[in-house]
């Protein structure tokens, strides 16, 4: 009995270590100055200082890649949240076969390999003669983010009292007011989690961005790191940057979890 508990505990810890070791590795080595990975040359915050003061080689390229990444993620996930919410309301109000079909069509882009999404979007943009750059990357990101918003909003809709929209109309709200004052607030938790999911999906996308960014030299973090690594070793300042991104995402996740457990306590 006791032995099996020890084993199961050990197994759990082993899995956790394997999962988190790479992240911990980067975090630890972000506090040393060694150029090559895995060399510990004593504790230092020099890399962090370099990152924030910009006194490193190629720092402007890295910072512009970061800026691009955040901007694209923000715009794409905002638009996807709006599109996805409206789409979810539409799908929810369909009946029978049509509803099943739309749900199915919504799921396909999520399972579709990124590389196929990327190549097909690339071909589409070429076919439509849209010059590739910022716009096409944002459009592409909206495309693959929207299904996640739909998926997050749909369950909120089914929890909703079916008459709630009509109740708002009945009390004198125009359809737009009913949407803004009743439907959106009720769907807000789903929209927020859809937005966050979209944001992270957009942040770490490589394949789709790579195929739709064209040749104007637009770089996001993922394409920058890819190019950087191929040029011969990672820029050391990427280690503190990744550590910071990881911590931000961890914080966001903790906030979401706390909010969720608070709202389920209320019920």
């Amino acid at each position: 009995m006791k032995a099996s508990r020890v084993i199961s505990k050990a197994y759990l810890w082993l899995v956790l270590i394997i999962l988190y070791a790479p992240i911990a590795f980067i975090a630890v080595f972000s506090f040393t100055e060694a150029k090559s990975l895995g060399n510990w040359t004593g504790f230092s915050t020099a890399l962090y200082r370099n990152l924030f003061t910009g006194s490193m080689q190629n720092s402007s390229a890295l910072l512009s890649a970061l800026e691009n990444t955040l901007l694209i993620a923000l715009i794409a996930s905002l638009v996807a949240t709006m599109l996805g919410t409206v789409a979810a309301i539409g799908i929810f109000n369909l009946k029978g076969k049509k509803k099943a079909t739309m749900n199915f069509l919504n799921n396909i882009p999520m399972i579709n390999p990124d590389i196929i999404t990327g190549v097909s979007l690339f071909l589409l943009f070429v076919f439509l003669h849209i010059s590739q750059g910022y716009t096409t990357v944002i459009l592409a990101h909206i495309t693959f983010c929207t299904p996640y918003v739909v998926l997050n909003v749909l369950p909120k809709l089914s929890q909703l009292n079916p008459n709630i929209y009509e109740a708002a109309l009945d009390l004198g709200a125009t359809p737009m007011q009913a949407l803004r004052k009743v439907l959106v607030p009720a769907l807000r938790p789903g929209m927020i989690s859809g937005f966050i999911l979209s944001f992270t999906m957009s942040l770490d996308d490589f394949a789709v961005t790579f195929f739709t960014r064209g040749t104007i030299g637009l770089d996001t973090l993922s394409t920058y790191i890819y190019a950087d690594a191929r040029k011969g070793g990672l820029t050391p300042e990427l280690k503190p940057l990744m550590t910071i991104i990881f911590l931000i995402i961890l914080a966001v996740l903790l906030i979401i979890n706390m909010r969720q457990s608070k709202s389920s306590d209320k019920q």
């Binding site: 009292n161 008459n163 009509e166 109740a167 009945d170 009390l171 004198g172 009720a186 209320k266």
Partner: protein, 463 residues
């Protein structure tokens, strides 16, 4: 009655969903200030009618007027009506106060006015001091009160209530019925109330409108509807009743359960088949041989709180339900009589199944989208014919391998010595069946008609 007494007037209203006609030529008016109930089984079209008055659905045909004005095309948010929805439909992200204030704020009512009206309406629904509560922390009954408050605070011309008490338990429902009636009296607003609960309708309403299969069956006061049902559906749906086949021998004399009775109805003609309704409390026990009209054996006796409910077999083999304050033991021989005024005679809606059909080949006729075998003597293939089949000549089977077509049992009426079933066939038409077998509602049945029981007559061609 003066026109301006009518707050809502509905004329020739029809609505279909796909192929299904849910409302068929509804004509109805609602008097100012009355409590009107739309009563019917689920799927009868009553909620559809309410939703068209509220503006959530558009009629296919017909006109609804409010205060003499056609409200066609006016969207729900511009109609001076408010609705209390099934399962309340409160806004979960707003507290009690903001839920009730929702309509007033949209109308830009001044803050202090909103405040005053909310306090007043909360007092009316006995929910003072609940302003700051989260609506999801309230019980079902409390949520229902808030839903009512949210609607009446806007002072609508008509309050629409869509089965508002259906989600509450029995005790709570009874209490809320009394409170609703009281609210209606205090407010003086016209109430249109939808329910499938006949007892609720009888308790609350000034006027009851009984709806079935998209048609108004009867409209009248609760007493009218209970005492003078116009057809066997209403008689069966409202209260308990014995519904029996009878024959009007002549004016004021009717024959049923094998005996002749004096009654107060006339104008049916002589030897006319009719339906007879006797309420179970209108059959009396007697010791006197001269008073007794027939005898019966008590089959069962159950105490129902105030009265006893007994089932008896009459001397001619009919089963009747009787309610009385005195108990008679099972097995006891009893003498019974019925007063002339308690016999409700109704014209029969139909006496046999009739369909339009056509002869497809020698010995074959098509109706109900099915080919049946029968004698087609005197007819040629292609002839249009009127097909008649007696109710008791239709066989229902619990398997479909020998059946000509299939259907579902829609409605069951016990007529003292047999069941009268309404069966919806695959083709969507109805076939009525008299049978001694016991079927349940929604049973899937095979339908068989023997060739000798199908009667054909020539159909008069128009033009």
């Amino acid at each position: 009655m003066a026109q301006d007494e009518r707050i809502i007037n509905i004329e020739h209203l029809s609505k279909s969903f796909g192929d299904k006609k849910v409302l068929d030529d509804i004509n109805l008016y609602v008097r100012r200030g009355e409590f009107l109930t739309l009563l019917g089984p689920s799927g009868c079209g009553k909620t559809t009618l309410l939703r068209m008055i509220a503006g959530f659905l558009q009629p296919d045909e017909g006109v609804i007027t409010l205060d003499g004005r056609n409200i066609e095309g006016i969207p729900p948010h511009k109609r001076p009506l408010n609705t209390v929805f099934q399962r309340y439909a409160l806004f979960p992200h707003l507290d009690v106060y903001d839920n009730i204030a929702f309509g007033l704020k949209l109308r830009k009512t001044p803050e202090d006015e909103i405040d005053r009206r909310i306090r007043k309406v909360l007092k009316l629904v006995a929910m003072s001091d609940y302003e700051d509560r989260d609506v999801e922390t309230l019980s079902g009954g409390q949520q229902q009160r808030i839903a009512i408050a949210r609607a009446i605070v806007n002072q609508p011309k008509v309050l629409l209530l869509d089965e508002p008490l259906a989600a509450l338990d029995l005790k709570m429902r009874k209490d809320m019925q009394i409170e609703l009636k009281e609210m209606h009296r205090k407010l003086g607003i016209t109430f249109i109330y939808v329910t499938h609960d006949q007892e609720e309708a009888l308790t609350l309403s000034d006027t009851i409108v009984v709806i079935n299969e998209g048609k108004i069956q009867q409209a009248g006061t609760p007493a009218d509807i209970y005492n003078e049902p116009v057809n066997s559906f209403v008689a069966d749906f409202i209260g308990e009743s014995n519904i029996l086949n009878g024959t009007m021998i002549r004016d004021k004399e009717v024959s049923f359960i094998g005996h002749d009775f004096k009654c107060v109805d006339s104008g049916f003609g002589e030897d006319m088949p009719v339906d007879v309704v006797i309420r179970p409390e209108d059959i009396y026990f007697t010791d006197s041989d001269t008073k007794a009209q027939f005898t019966a054996t008590v089959k069962s006796c159950t105490f129902k709180g105030v009265h006893y409910e007994m089932f008896v077999d009459t001397d001619k083999g009919y089963e009747l339900m009787i309610q009385d304050y005195d108990a008679y033991e099972a097995g006891e021989e009893v003498k019974l009589y019925i007063k002339p005024g308690d016999i409700q005679v109704m014209r029969k809606e139909r006496t046999e199944n009739t369909y339009e059909g056509s002869v497809v080949a020698d010995g074959k006729v098509e109706f109900l989208d099915t080919e049946f075998e029968c004698s087609t003597e005197g007819f040629a293939p292609g002839d249009k014919v009127l097909v008649s089949v007696a109710f008791k000549k239709v066989d229902l089977l619990d398997h479909d391998d020998e059946a000509a077509t299939v259907g579902n049992v829609e409605f069951i009426l016990y007529k003292g010595d047999h069941y009268h079933l309404t069966v919806r066939t695959e083709s969507g038409e109805k076939i009525w069946v008299d049978t001694n077998d016991i079927w349940d509602k929604n049973d899937y049945v095979g339908i068989r008609i023997l060739p000798k029981d199908i009667r054909l007559t020539k159909l008069q061609e128009n033009g």
